[in-house]
């Protein structure tokens, strides 16, 4: 049965862009182990030859005409950002140092 170690929690945190203090890491290690332990009962089920169902509609490749339609104005969309807007672009912190 999977045990999610504190190191794994730290690794997951990085992937998820989250940070935790030591107490939180311990807590999540316990809780994730418990949750993944519960769902591991799926291993009991024989799924040989069974196709997965990713979504139930059965629809594929729903197409529409490539026509430009304005849903909102650019200013309205940019207004929802907390960051500075410069020349119609959102100014983000530097990617590199």
């Amino acid at each position: 049965m999977a045990k999610i170690s504190e190191d794994e929690v730290k690794h997951l945190a990085k992937l998820c862009r989250l940070q935790f203090d030591d107490n939180e890491i311990k807590k999540f290690s316990r809780e994730l182990t418990s949750i993944l332990g519960y769902v591991s009962q799926l291993e009991e089920v024989d799924t040989d030859g069974v196709d997965p169902t990713f979504q139930v509609t059965g629809l594929t490749n729903v197409m529409r005409k490539d026509e430009v339609k304005e849903v909102c104005k650019r200013d309205e969309l940019l207004a929802t950002s907390p960051l500075e807007i410069s020349r119609d672009q959102i100014k983000v912190p530097p990617v590199f140092e």
């Binding site: 929690v9 862009r17 809780e31 994730l32 993944l36 009962q41 140092e97």
Partner: protein, 488 residues
């Protein structure tokens, strides 16, 4: 009776016959919100000025003799995941505090076309992840039947606001039980529709293959009226198939005599509360009185459905939460960041609550290389087996009935220390969610402590009219609303 205690149909009749105005209805609801919402915590935003303005517009139309439709001028609430143009929409998460959508959700546009009066946005578990509204950044919503107990989740806000007569109807969402459970805990009907029956465009996503939008109201007929307006294909949501929307109100008045109701034995789990079990047994007897046949059926993979849900759901949640980077929407981190990575980490760690973090990490783990096959792919295969169980059962029966919750409404704080305990509340609602079929929650009675009990009527895909028909017949036969009232 106070105006805010009326149903949609009663309001519509009164407006047409000029007994009262939409402003009268709206003021009655606003007064009720002012009187009780501090105790209930159902509303997170009250839009008094917007509501009164919308109501005045409707009254002008009526005065001019213009035709009005069943939802025109009726005050309602929307779960705070429906994008409402110009009105703050937070998904009850700190990461979206202050976010004002630049456009309405498709379903909101549809309701506006009918002359909706929006009283405000209602409380939900953060990003609808929960069974009690306790994970909301605004605190829990309580059931009007006992203020020490939760309203259920995640649509606790909508359910409590309707059951306490703060509004006439509302819209909620159901991904794993989030309309049905609060419906049961607050004693009102609520419909989880088939996946794809109602457009999700503009509704903040939780788990994209499971989310559904649904009506919540005071009667089954009211739910049908709401569904009539919001159902149907939407080009903005490519998961809505082009399937005809029937005339629900005429379909649901058809006689249920001769229909067969299935009782799936696997739903009557060990640990199911005795009073809840008795209530479902009594409901089955009532169906027999209505001339329906009863048949026991088996859904052998039921016990795995919760595990299927709690793999698929966090995986899809982790993908949907990736967009919350503090860049395009939300307040961003509280302090300045050194670089972009630091910005992301601070914004997300400060913005998301514990349950969200758990789900994001669980999902990321289950989708990561080396684990994808064992968890996500495996769960989607077991999902196919669960779907097959229901397809087979519906060859023998027209609808199925089952309990909604294993327990009566629990006390605030009772289960928060153990996330798995809160997940297990969903054990009876998640099977229907993974299959993507409709299920109507209907109140059936009260416990010895006057807590509401409900059960669900499950139907085949895109047969909402059938579950509403059976629910309508049942509701008329037992008269729950007339017999039982919440204490608030």
């Amino acid at each position: 009776m106070n105006l805010n205690e009326l149903t949609i149909e009663q309001c519509h009749k009164g407006l047409k016959e000029k007994e009262f105005s939409s402003v009268d209805l709206t003021k009655a609801c606003l007064q009720r919100i002012s009187d009780v919402d501090e105790k209930l915590n159902a509303f997170v935003t009250v839009t008094e000025n917007v509501a009164l303005k919308q109501a005045e517009e409707v009254d002008k139309k009526i005065a001019k003799g213009e035709q009005i439709s069943p939802l025109t001028g009726i005050p309602c609430s929307l779960k705070d995941v429906f994008s409402t143009k110009g009105i703050e929409t937070t998904a009850c998460s700190n990461i979206l505090k202050g976010y004002v959508p630049p456009a309405d959700a498709s379903t909101v546009k549809k309701l506006k076309n009918e002359g909706m009066v929006l009283l405000g946005k209602t409380n939900t578990d953060e990003f609808t992840c929960g069974t009690s509204t306790e994970s909301s950044c605004f605190g829990p919503t309580r059931t009007p039947w006992d203020l020490e107990r939760v309203a259920g989740g995640s649509s606790g806000g909508p359910a409590a606001s309707i059951a306490s007569h703060e509004c006439i109807y509302g819209l909620g969402t159901d991904t794993g039980g989030s309309i049905r459970l609060p419906g049961a805990y607050c004693g009102i009907p609520g419909l989880k529709v088939s996946y794809g029956r109602v457009s999700r465009s503009g509704v903040i996503s939780m788990a994209s293959s499971l989310d559904s939008i649904g009506p919540m109201g005071k009667t089954v007929r009211d739910c049908a009226i709401i569904l009539q307006t919001i159902a149907g294909k939407d080009v903005a949501d490519s998961t809505t198939p082009d399937i005809e929307v029937p005339d629900y109100l005429s379909e649901i008045e058809k006689d249920v005599k001769g229909m067969t109701v299935g009782v799936p034995k696997e739903y009557f789990i060990k640990g199911l509360d005795d009073e809840i079990k008795q209530s479902v047994d009594d409901a089955v007897k009532q169906f027999e009185k209505l001339g329906m046949k009863v048949k026991e059926v088996s859904l052998p993979h039921t016990k795995y459905a919760l595990a299927v849900y709690y793999v698929i759901c966090p995986c899809e949640v982790s993908a949907n939460m990736a967009r919350y980077d503090g860049i395009r929407f939300g307040p961003g981190p509280k302090e300045s960041a050194d670089d972009l990575m630091d910005y992301y980490v601070k914004a997300r760690s400060q913005g998301f609550g514990d349950e969200l973090k758990r789900r994001i990490m669980t999902g990321t783990y289950a989708l990561s290389s080396g684990y994808y096959d064992a968890y996500y792919l495996k769960a989607q295969k077991v999902r196919s087996l669960v779907i097959k169980d229901y397809e087979e059962a519906f060859k023998e029966v027209d609808v199925m009935v089952a309990p909604i919750a294993p327990d009566l409404p629990f006390k605030v704080g009772e289960k928060v220390d153990d996330p798995l305990k809160l997940y297990l509340v969903d054990v009876l609602t998640t099977p229907v969610s993974v299959v993507g079929i409709p299920s109507l929650a209907v109140p059936s009675g009260v416990s010895k402590d006057n807590l509401p009990i409900g059960f669900q009527i499950i139907g085949p895909r895109f047969k909402e009219e059938r579950v509403l028909q059976v629910g309508n017949a049942y509701e008329k036969a037992i008269g729950f609303r007339e017999k039982y009232q919440p204490t608030l």
